[in-house]
């Protein structure tokens, strides 16, 4: 049984280590913040100029001057600091953020990422995605294993325009978890009742299976 969005998010929350500074993308990645383990202190960065992002506001806390990178109203915490976009991306580009979790359209077996543009469709822009994947120490992708059409999203080479080259360290899909390093892509964990065979059929990228593959 493939993982649900929540299960994928919960899985991704294992990435959090005490003291980490983390940037979460829009969509499923945002859900990961709901699963920060007890005793693990994580500070969320929002690339529009904030460190220490709090939860959504209650109705009477709403403040038009306080939004996240998805333009959603949010709140501050006691630890919060604000800064300019230049300072925010100096932080990102300079390698000071420990972890970025984001969505993807395609990932190649070498860790190339495509998540910003579909040729022929109106392009909205890459926002901060290219800066994040280039600058953040560890990049984790959460995405459905296949497109709605059934097409593979883990590919030998990305077809869509790239967001970054060799930038993805881990991919969490509804079928399992993949690590990417210089030796290539490796399946390290399977969702319940999912077989290696099924994953292979639904994946274009070549991958090895970890010796200590975890079956849930």
């Amino acid at each position: 049984m493939p993982w649900t969005r929540e299960e994928m998010a919960k899985h991704a929350s294992r990435e959090f280590q005490d003291g980490f500074y983390v940037n979460l993308g829009i969509g499923i990645p945002t859900l990961v913040a709901n699963y920060i383990p007890d005793g693990v202190d994580v500070t969320l960065q929002s690339e529009n100029g904030m460190l220490g992002m709090g939860p959504f506001p209650t109705e009477d806390e709403v403040d038009a001057d306080l939004i996240n990178a998805g333009k959603q109203t949010i709140t501050e915490l006691r630890r919060t600091s604000y800064f300019s976009s230049a300072d925010s991306f100096a932080m990102i580009r300079g390698g000071h953020i420990d972890l970025s979790i984001l969505g993807a359209m395609e990932v190649s077996e070498e860790g190339d990422l495509a998540n910003w543009m579909i040729p022929g469709k109106m392009v909205k822009g890459m926002g901060g995605a290219m800066d994040l994947v280039a600058g953040v120490k560890r990049v984790v992708v959460i995405m459905d294993h296949n497109a709605k059409s059934g097409a593979a999203k883990l590919l030998k080479n990305c077809v869509l325009p790239l967001t970054g080259v060799k930038v993805v360290d881990r991919i969490i899909t509804d079928l399992g978890v993949f690590d990417i390093d210089d030796s290539g892509m490796r399946l390290t964990e399977l969702a319940p009742d999912v077989t290696v065979e099924e994953v292979k059929q639904r994946t274009e990228a070549a991958f090895k299976v970890a010796d200590d593959l975890i079956k849930n």
């Binding site: 038009a64 001057d65 939004i67 333009k71 890459m126 901060g128």
Partner: protein, 234 residues
Amino acid sequence: MDKVYKNAADALEGLTFDGMTIMAGGFGLCGIPENLITALRDSGAKDLTVISNNAGVDDFGLGFLLQTRQIKKMISSYVGENKTFETQYLSGELDLEFNPQGTLAERIRAGGAGIPGFYTKTGVGTLIAEGKEEKEFGGESYIMETGLVADLSLIKAWKGDTEGNLMFRKTARNFNPMMATAGTVTVVEVEELVKVGELDPDCIHTPGIYIQRIIKAKHEKRIEQRTIRQRGED
């Protein structure tokens, strides 16, 4: 030198012309110079190149200038919230240059800081790198990006004094401080205009040297995504 002007129209008097390059602060609709954008529309200046992270929404912010077709080209990182934009872009009326958000922010800072070019890892191996000089540092590839300046920067601050010293509030700071430094002329609209000496000199985000004109104005501060939690939820 009196930097204080009566209203937005007055503050733009003599500064606008066809074909000019404008920077407009803000992220989404947060911290945008609402009143100066309206005054820019009313100035009638056309064929504008506008440098702004986003393009407003259809009926607010830079959307106004798209409606009147005063913008020829946008330099932005994300324009997803604007149908007018989409229509004009797809019909070829509007030119568009996408920059990664951090590259855009740094290009503006560089422009204001007298740095004509710098190297970044952002965008290496992507469409963004096409036609750009590539150089290796420590065995890794970087691309060169250039500084950006504008004929006029329109920005929005929270508090400002009559010397043009400014403070921004929360995430409404965003692109405003860098744009203040990169305009040949910079005009600011503030929510509170205070006397010189009322801002803490250790907390001034933008020193008055960067500001040529200042107005006090009212702000609608429209919210794009009003996300709420119930009281008691985490």
